[in-house]
Symmetry: C2
Subunit: 159 residues, 2 copies
Amino acid sequence: MPKATRPRKDRVTPVPVVRLGPLEDFIGFHLRLAQEASFRAFAQRVGDRRLRPSRFAIMALIAENPGITQTALSRASARDKSTLTTALDDLVVRGLVLRGRAPEDRRSYALMLTARGRQVLARLMTHAAAHDRQLDELVGPAGKLALLRLLRRIIGGLD
Amino acid sequence: MPKATRPRKDRVTPVPVVRLGPLEDFIGFHLRLAQEASFRAFAQRVGDRRLRPSRFAIMALIAENPGITQTALSRASARDKSTLTTALDDLVVRGLVLRGRAPEDRRSYALMLTARGRQVLARLMTHAAAHDRQLDELVGPAGKLALLRLLRRIIGGLD
DNA sequence: TATTGTTATACTCTATAACTATA
DNA sequence: TATAGTTATAGAGTATAACAATA
């Protein structure tokens, strides 16, 4: 370990950090950094650039709610319906999602996963589970429950 | 209230909700929703589309670390340096940030706020404080401490 | 050789408004 | 009139790679 003998730089501050000032105590700032870090770690785990967390969430929601309409899905994922159109176009073209017409209301679509979509989702789900286990380990079992509870309060309270 | 007499639709499920399935327990999914909700609420509070949370964070970090370089700032905000270039170009053009050459290393810039930048930041800071108070109320005083601690673990653990 | 910052480029995500087709 | 979804369009945000200046 040759690095062990490297002389430390003289510093006024103990570490070469940036002072956060008021940001230090802002929940919003930390939410952004944590979400960003989580996003990156998940994307890196999956590898495929075209299967990012947002696509994973869409597919998971369709799998859990077969026949869901695009509008319902857009509400659940907090996105405008036009945003969903683009994402679903991509998933349909790639043979992962099926847009079936809903017979009872011919304005809307009934979304479903294809067989291939279910396979891909299963693979993503193992990555997501592993990713979430990594997060669990960082915060501990009690921390996970507390964190989810606190995040849900924020999500529900800022409607 | 004429709606009071509207007959309820027969539903198998008690409310027209979307089932989250495994997402229900994923930290990453809730981080995204919470960050999104917080982002929106802050942006709405500020009004100005060109002063979003990311710009606010940049300005706050410069104010707290006058003379900071772009690279140091990019690390603190977890963005590539090329991303910072664009954002700083905008802030400089608008007269909020000053790029001064650092005499000791002429490759880098020493960033500072202009007088106008300090004024704008002060205004943003009051919005941010109000926004954070709103979040505080949602999670409670003990919840805030717990939440910050948990988020820091995630941020620090996913390097 | 390595680092700071810029530029060129491209891709994703997002939303608004106007549109269509149905209801 | 109202709703589901599409399209056209635009704007942020992000990153990679190649580059010039400096160390």
